[in-house]
């Protein structure tokens, strides 16, 4: 069984929790960062392969428990002809009209996960770890700004 989670604005602790819960059942895990909001809210895609087979209802329950986007789960439950657990690797938000690609994270522990010091500014991802064009784009002549808040389907 495959489980594809869309983690929108999830806290870092919950992301780690979900990742390591799933890591108990499979070693085939993929993690992507899809976008970052202006206020620092992060959007992740987490895909787990080769999980034990369970019923559809149990998958939906698991997805709720793992902080998946509830609207997405509700649509998957309700609709019939649509493929389930879709995570787009290329998105075109209506606001910008420009394609946006997600970035694969090769390590889960790449962030400074906890610190006793308060953050002095909104976290800016390391350009070397991520796709360069995406983060180095400047809007309106100002410095780095977050991406749009459009949620992924």
């Amino acid at each position: 069984m495959r489980l594809a989670l869309d983690l929108d604005r999830v806290s870092q602790l919950n992301l780690l929790k979900v990742y390591f819960w799933l890591a108990q059942f499979t070693d085939k895990l993929e993690l992507f960062i899809s976008s970052i909001d202006k206020d620092g809210g992060e959007h992740y895609h987490l895909v787990a392969y080769d999980l034990p087979d369970v019923s559809d209802d149990f998958i939906y329950e698991m997805r709720y428990a793992f902080y998946d986007d509830p609207i997405r789960i509700w649509l998957d439950q309700k609709l019939t002809g649509k493929p389930e657990m879709v995570l787009f690797s290329r998105r075109v938000p209506i606001e910008t009209g420009r394609p946006r690609y997600r970035c694969r994270l090769y390590r889960i522990l790449w962030l400074p996960w906890c610190s006793r010091l308060p953050a002095r500014k909104v976290y800016k991802p390391n350009k070397l770890l991520l796709h360069r064009g995406k983060w180095s784009r400047k809007k309106n002549g100002h410095g780095w700004q977050g991406l749009s808040t459009e949620r992924d389907a």
Binding site: T80, G81, P83, R90, R107
Partner: protein, 278 residues
């Protein structure tokens, strides 16, 4: 802990696979040596300014780049030798009223999905990122054509819907959303390499889903018996009939060119074109 694809299966004998991996490792090892050489001769050029050292540095840099290119191509072939057995390639185009969360005042979704074992046929492989990054242009053109057909047919049948689609403002030239993922066998819901069309229209009082064969009434919560002209596949037939009829009446000079324009333009561009004409 991470893998690049689900259920990786070797498509070549394991010996060949190991040789390929060793080849990539050799490239990396050679490059490490080259970096050392680069530093050595760059330093000599800096201190003694002998032109042969500079020549050597330039040759080494060229060699390093050739090595990097070779390694990339070898990694691409390596990735092709481990494949996931089933893939889902899908593109989608979604209109919505500018509200961040549902319920939207109006929502329309057009989607083409293909289940396949040969994703190269439907998507473009990016060797640098090691992933399928974009759909093949034919698939994208087909989605644009579907949008075009829907607007034409809706203009004949549901004027309200057409108006809603046409009146949504937005930039032109948007490319649809794309996914190419390895999936489990249980997730394959249709015959392989057959395009599955899916359209969903939601209005405040109505929500309807269309797919290849049937129409699903969301409010009734069941499939409505198939009616000719409601499945998305039949939209294409209907469109071809309309175009040939228009050609017969002399309204269109070239049916093939007309259909080609439908494939080239997004709905927004088509709208701008119409407005210019008026």
């Amino acid at each position: 802990m991470h893998v690049l694809a689900a259920e990786p299966k070797l498509v070549v004998p394991e010996r060949e696979w190991r040789l390929e991996v060793a080849r990539v490792e050799d490239k990396v090892r050679v490059r490490e040596k080259l970096y050392v050489e680069w530093g050595r001769y760059a330093s000599r050029w800096r201190w003694y300014r002998r032109p042969e050292d500079l020549e050597r540095v330039r040759a080494i840099m060229r060699e390093i780049w050739a090595n990097i290119r070779d390694e990339r191509s070898e990694r691409a072939t390596l990735a092709k030798k481990v494949v996931a057995p089933y893939w889902r390639v899908g593109i989608a185009y979604m209109f919505r009223e500018r509200v961040p969360k549902p319920p939207y005042y109006f929502y329309a979704e057009f989607r083409i999905t293909v289940y396949t074992r040969n994703p190269d046929r439907w998507a473009k492989w990016d060797p640098k990122e090691m992933m399928y990054k974009d759909p093949q242009p034919e698939l994208e053109a087909e989605l644009r054509e579907l949008l075009f057909i829907a607007s034409i047919l809706a203009g004949r049948r549901h004027y309200e819907w057409l108006r809603a689609v046409v009146e949504i403002p937005g930039p032109t030239g948007r490319i649809p959303d794309f996914e190419a993922v390895p999936i489990d066998k249980s997730e394959v819901k249709a015959p392989l390499d057959v395009k599955q069309y899916y359209v969903r229209i939601e209005e405040p009082r109505k929500a309807v889903e269309y797919d290849n064969k049937n129409r699903y009434d969301v409010e009734a919560g069941r499939r409505v018996a198939t009616v000719p002209g409601l499945g998305v596949e039949s939209w294409f037939r209907e469109y071809r009939r309309l175009v040939s009829e228009a050609y017969r009446r002399g309204k269109i000079l070239s049916p093939s060119r007309f259909m080609q324009v439908g494939k080239q333009r997004t709905l927004d561009e088509w709208r701008a074109y119409k407005e210019e004409g008026e």
